[in-house]
């Protein structure tokens, strides 16, 4: 059934690409017709090759094409102030996605005034400068955004929430402008166990997720600062394969766990002509409460530290190079050992072949293993994986 749906979506996307005229979008129906919609889409295929450690997907040391994305969205203005939209998204990135079609976002949006709008549905989470566009390859230079602040493995937790949002934009005269968003809701996550994981997750629930982002556009053209805060709690029952016996019937061991988390990030961005400079600093506070420490360990709040600095430049209409340095410490109280750090120096070349098609090549030099996943590396502990390793990515995206 999934394959059938995926084939249908892929066929639809391909057909749309083929019929797209040299315009920015496909408009179906006349502008004022109730049946008219604006339609956009993208198709991406990537290739990952790593030196020494597997990253994001299994067997990347031999090269992997498990890096595909496809999205199609529809937007309709029902009135001048009221809009609805939907994006379907299909992804395959190593063990995640697996070509399952899902609603990336959908919403009803009513803009009462410049300073206040309200949105309900499944909406992208405004966290940092780029989280709400993290899966949009055509919107940035890098193939992988700095993984310290925008980790691919946390995409399910960070990208979108189902609930409501208030937003607005206020110009403050000579001192710039404020752009603000506040949201609350929950997250629905597929809890299918990752291959090699010792746990099976049941009754997964996010009782709350709240947060907001405030962006100050400074009087200096192109300069903006932002602060983002998000609080959530994950509740779940986890089972292990180890069994206990009640009478004569063996049952799996279980534990009820709660993971409260607070995520904060401070951001700065400066765009001057074709030059973009960005830097972000983030701290995540994550606790772990458990009803059975034998099954799933509890822990006091652990603070992780994440930061990056990035520079991109539009050298011509068709070429944009970019570099960044990104660093992450999973526990600020223990920065020693390869498993407790991840340094990442990245360089990218983005080639815009035409207004609807781009190709990117990217290389990373990595120091540390904190960004790796043991389950993708035959269960090898992070402390035993290669400390210095490399990642090479090629990606091409068509979009309209």
């Amino acid at each position: 059934m999934i394959a059938t749906k995926n084939q249908a979506i892929a066929a639809l996307a391909l057909a749309l690409c083929l019929v797209t005229s040299p315009a920015f979008a496909v408009d179906i129906g006349s502008e004022d017709s109730l049946a008219s919609v604006e339609l956009h889409g993208f198709v991406s295929q990537g290739f990952i090759f790593t030196k020494d450690n597997n990253y994001l997907a299994a067997d990347t040391t031999h090269g992997s094409f498990q890096f595909s994305e496809l999205g199609v969205n529809l937007t309709k203005n029902l009135t001048d102030r009221f809009r609805v939209g939907l994006q379907l998204f299909v992804q395959d990135l190593g063990p995640t996605g697996n070509y399952d079609v899902k609603a990336d976002w959908f919403y009803l949006d009513y803009r009462l005034a410049n300073w206040l709008g309200v949105r309900a549905g499944r909406v992208k989470i405004p966290f940092g400068l780029y989280n709400d566009s993290a899966d949009i390859d055509s919107a940035r230079v890098a193939v992988l955004l700095p993984q310290s602040v925008y980790p691919e493995e946390n995409r399910n937790f960070l990208l979108a929430q189902t609930g409501g949002e208030l937003y607005g934009y206020v110009r403050l005269g000579s001192v710039g402008a404020l752009d603000y968003r506040a949201y609350g809701g929950t997250i629905f996550i597929d809890t299918t166990a990752t291959s090699g994981s010792p746990y099976q997750v049941q009754n997964f629930n996010v009782p709350y997720l709240v947060g907001g982002r405030l962006v100050w556009e400074a009087p200096l053209e192109g300069l903006r600062f932002a602060g983002s805060l998000q609080a959530l709690r994950l509740d779940a029952t986890v089972l292990t394969s180890a069994m206990t016996t009640t009478g004569t019937t063996p049952i799996p061991l279980s534990a009820n766990i709660q993971i409260p988390a607070v995520l904060a990030v401070a951001s700065a961005e400066y765009v001057a002509g074709d030059l973009l400079l960005a830097a972000e600093y983030s701290r995540w506070y994550v606790g772990q409460d458990t009803s059975n420490a034998m099954v799933f360990p509890g822990s006091p709040t652990v603070i992780s530290e994440r930061a990056y600095g990035m520079l991109t430049y539009r050298a011509s209409k068709w070429l944009q190079p970019g570099v960044y340095y990104s660093v992450m410490f999973p526990n600020v109280d223990d920065r020693s050992g390869r498993q407790n750090m991840q340094h990442d120096v990245s360089t990218t070349l983005r080639f815009d072949i035409n207004p609807f098609w781009l190709v990117k090549a990217e290389a990373h030099y990595m120091m540390g293993t904190a960004g790796l996943d043991s389950t993708l590396n035959n269960g090898t502990p992070l402390s035993s994986l290669q400390q210095s390793w490399g990642v090479f990515l090629l990606k091409t995206t068509a979009y309209f």
Binding site: N73, Q87, D132, D135, I136, Y169
Partner: protein, 150 residues
């Protein structure tokens, strides 16, 4: 001697003609690269550059009288659009396209409609009271109001 007088007279006449040409051109300057136009019933006479930037990037959506702003663009390869985008939005057309990629695929908004010709922009603005667009400096605006950009 008469030859010298004749040469001098010819030089004076040539210099006068050159000056007339140069100063004559200064008195009739070339048309501006674009005109910003709105619906004739729009109450505004002038507009701040920043307001226009926010309107075309859809950061703001209403005029001061609370009418909804309906911006209209020319095609990305239009030299008029390049001039307007550089002067008013303070960035390149490619950078604006990147901005809209973020907005489109994160579900924030969609860009203004794009038109191939000045006449199409004029028609769009005349059709919508909150309409605002830009056309070449020599375009016929058919009753649209031209705003002065401050």
């Amino acid at each position: 001697m008469p030859a010298r007088l004749a040469i001098s007279a010819a030089l004076i006449i040539a210099l006068t003609a050159l000056c007339a040409t140069v100063f004559g051109q200064q008195h009739s300057p070339p048309p501006p690269p674009y005109q910003v136009i709105v619906h004739p019933r729009n109450a505004e006479v002038t507009v701040e550059r920043k307001f226009l930037e926010d309107a075309f990037l859809k950061k703001i959506t209403t005029w001061p009288n609370d009418d909804v702003i309906r911006p209209a663009d020319l095609a990305p390869d239009s030299p008029v659009r390049r001039a307007f985008t550089r002067d008013v939005l303070n960035r390149s057309v490619e950078a604006v396209k990147g901005y809209w990629q973020q907005r489109i695929f994160s579900g924030r908004d969609v860009p203004p409609p794009e038109f191939q010709q000045d006449e199409d922009v004029v028609q769009f603005v005349l059709k919508h009271e909150g309409g605002v667009g830009y056309v070449s400096g020599t375009a016929k605006i058919n009753g649209c109001k031209v705003l002065v950009v401050r």
